[in-house]
């Protein structure tokens, strides 16, 4: 058991799977000699060489489209999109092609690939280096979407994603890369896709989160605990397929549900969670299913004052918990 940062766990996960399986390759902008702009792939190029760690031209549609083809012909590509904000040029390849290949060919062609991308704000990234893009993809049948919150999960979920036979989008909150550490076993463990984790058990309010917001939700829960509000914090980990079971049994127990997400509120992923809870746990609800999320403005401004204004934080989540608890 070693203590690893979030990004180290991701790097280890890739390296170990590449050692185990020669069909795993990494491609993307600056992933080679430079090791990626965040250094997530640092060392891979020197260990695995030009053929398996490919510095691509600055063309995201190509990165995804060629990965689809490579996956069809026996490889398991890990495509890095330098920032989640730059996944949009590849939207057509992801949504029209990767997601639909299996269905349209009744399983004749399949696309086992992972698309990794750093997402999220609070890092002075402004409009185009801060976005949460999960809602565009969680809506799409055929795609899986993973957002880990701990080094352990980052590695274990990445292993599952690489071994999965379907396209998996794997989003990494960039603010966590070096600030979040945790124990990661040296064994070949995997965290299965599609299972949420109860990060903190509680009786009064269920707080649902993923990625960085899990940490903020836990801190918020801690704050309100002193005021006698007992929160259960659920880390979804996999956004699609969703672990309905863990979600619904928590809300059926607490009767109150707050969903915290960093993305713009309107039409964000949390809307689906709210809709599911509202429909399937209706009889158990003691208060409205509530969302706290980013303001509905284009991603987030750069200036730190405006960025702070945009970002959720533990204090704001705590306020929302208090409001809901007091309902």
């Amino acid at each position: 058991m070693a203590v690893r940062t979030f990004i180290e766990a991701i790097r280890d996960g890739m390296a170990e799977e590449m050692r185990r399986d020669a069909s795993v390759i990494v491609l993307g902008e600056d992933v080679g000699k430079k090791g990626g702009v965040f250094l997530a792939t640092d060392g891979l190029w020197s260990e695995f060489g030009d053929d398996r760690v490919i510095d691509t031209p600055l063309t995201e549609s190509m990165i995804v489209g060629a990965s689809i083809g490579a996956a069809i012909n026996g490889l398991r590509p890990i495509a890095e999109i330098q920032f989640a904000d730059f996944i949009h040029p590849a939207f057509n390849q992801i949504v029209s092609e990767a997601a639909r290949m299996r269905y349209r060919s009744i399983g004749g062609f399949t696309v086992p690939m992972v698309i990794r991308a750093p997402y999220g704000g609070g890092v002075h990234g402004a409009l185009y280096h801060s976005q949460s893009v999960e809602a565009f993809f969680t809506h799409v049948p055929g795609l899986k979407v993973v957002i880990p919150s701990t080094p352990y999960d980052a590695k274990g979920l990445l292993r599952s994603a690489i071994r999965d036979d379907d396209p998996v989008l794997y989003f990494e909150h960039k603010k966590m890369y070096r600030s979040v550490r945790g124990e990661v076993p040296d064994t070949e463990f995997a965290v299965p896709l599609g299972q949420a984790a109860v990060r903190r058990p509680g009786r009064q309010v269920t707080v649902v989160a993923y990625g960085l917001m899990v940490h903020y939700a836990l801190e918020a829960a801690q704050r309100v605990a002193g005021e006698g509000i007992d929160c259960e914090v659920i880390d979804l980990r996999t956004l699609r397929p969703l672990d309905r079971e863990t979600l619904l049994s928590s809300v059926r127990k607490t009767g109150k549900c707050l969903i915290a997400y960093e993305d713009n509120r309107f039409g964000g992923y949390g809307a689906e969670i709210a809709a599911i809870v509202a429909e399937e746990a209706f009889d158990y609800l003691d208060g409205p299913v509530t969302r706290i999320a980013g303001p509905d403005v284009p991603a987030m401004p750069y200036n730190h004052v405006l960025e702070d204004w945009f970002m959720l934080n533990p204090a704001r989540i705590a306020d929302a918990i208090r409001r809901l608890a007091g309902y």
């Binding site: 398996r52 031209p57 549609s61 190509m62 489209g65 390849q93 299996r102």
Partner: protein, 381 residues
């Protein structure tokens, strides 16, 4: 695919010999072309008769398709085709029955079990990548297949095919650039018929030939007359050999003609003059290739009539077969979203029959097709 020696018949007259082929190859090529045309014509008849709601056609493109597919190794090399690739698919191993099942969208349709529109072929067995509708995406799939071939040392060549209109999509730029940098075993074929639906070439590109783009990527660009099946064969062979031996990609542009409307939803007389259409008919590859083989003594009247009989029977058989096959079962609608059905969402309440991991209990199915506003919008795809 050089058939030389197939069935032991390696006899080669001067025409065949000049291309390193046997007469039997020429006959096989002609047969493929004629068969593609016959299947295609039948599709239109079925459409007009109301048997199949949509047709998109390869008529006029078949000469280039047969010539360019021929040098590839069947079941080994890869093609990412497009919706006009009927002759390509036949040349690569699909059968008239396969194609007709796709037209009828029956459960036995090998490419998609009736899920895709007609024209969206695909066959894992024959290494024909499943066609999708958004044009040009397939070029990147073929490039990725070529990348895997190179990395895995599979000795496979990958080919992507599309129309000249589609070649203006951004994906084409990104694909050619990447394939050229890595000298991938890749061939890009553009079947230039002068139109993207109604938009004529001069509103699609500002140069005469799409092939003029090749030097900008550092790869050879070749223009070939799509009515000249053997010239296409020669151009294809050169490109495939270059690709297989590490020489990198080639762009081949075949000048073809679109003998039909864009699809059964289109009325081409609205935007094409009678002159233009007549010129198109004069560039029909089928009579041109037939005349050449007759002249070379490869096609004799006996052989021609034997072929005609065989082809007619094949088309008849394929039609009857496909027509008689059952439609897909709606109970299969949720299948193949993910490898693990448990990863999929629950089916809707009206879903007939059980699905792995279904959350909601299936209801009695409501009567299907009861929707108000009823017509099909009259769209032209």
């Amino acid at each position: 695919m050089t058939l030389t020696g197939q069935g032991g018949d390696t006899a080669a007259g001067p025409l065949a010999a000049s291309f390193g082929l046997a007469d039997a190859d020429l006959v096989a090529m002609f047969r493929t072309l004629a068969l593609a045309r016959a299947v295609d014509e039948r599709m239109w008849i079925l459409n007009r008769a109301g048997r199949i709601p949509f047709v998109i056609s390869g008529q006029g493109h078949e000469g280039a398709q047969v010539g360019l597919a021929w040098p590839l190794r069947r079941g080994h090399d890869w093609i990412a085709p497009f919706y006009r690739s009927i002759a390509t698919c036949l040349a690569f191993g699909m059968t008239p029955r396969d194609l007709m099942l796709a037209q009828y969208a029956k459960a036995a349709d090998p490419g998609s079990a009736g899920r895709q529109m007609p024209g969206h072929y695909g066959s894992p067995e024959h290494h024909l990548v499943s066609v999708s509708s958004p044009v040009a995406t397939q070029i990147l799939h073929a490039v990725g297949i070529a990348l895997a071939s190179k990395i895995r040392k599979l000795d496979q060549v990958a080919v992507a095919i599309m129309g000249e209109g589609s070649s203006n999509q951004g994906d084409v730029h990104e694909a050619l650039n990447f394939a050229a940098i890595h000298r991938l075993p890749f061939v890009f074929i553009v079947e230039n018929n002068g139109y993207a639906i109604s938009v004529p070439a001069e509103r699609e590109i500002a140069v005469k030939d799409v092939a003029m783009r090749a030097p900008g990527y550092g790869i050879p660009g070749v223009v070939v007359d799509g009515t000249d099946v053997l010239a296409c064969y020669a151009a294809g062979r050169e490109a495939v050999e270059r690709a297989r031996t590490g020489g990198g990609p080639t762009l081949i542009e075949a000048k073809v003609t679109r003998l039909t409307a864009h699809s059964s939803d289109d009325q081409q007389t609205k935007y094409r003059t009678e002159d233009d259409l007549a010129q198109g008919r004069a560039h029909d590859p089928l009579p041109i290739f037939r005349a050449r083989l007759r002249e070379a003594g490869v096609l004799t009247p006996d052989l021609e009539s034997a072929l005609a009989t065989e082809i007619a029977a094949l088309v008849e058989d394929a039609t009857d077969f496909a027509e008689a096959e059952p439609d897909p079962d709606p109970a299969t609608g949720m299948d193949f979203v993910y490898a693990d059905p448990a990863a999929g969402e629950a089916p809707p309440p009206w879903h007939p029959g059980p699905v792995a991991n279904a959350a909601g209990a299936p209801d009695a199915a409501s009567a299907p097709g009861e929707g108000a506003p009823g017509d099909d919008g009259g769209g032209h795809r």
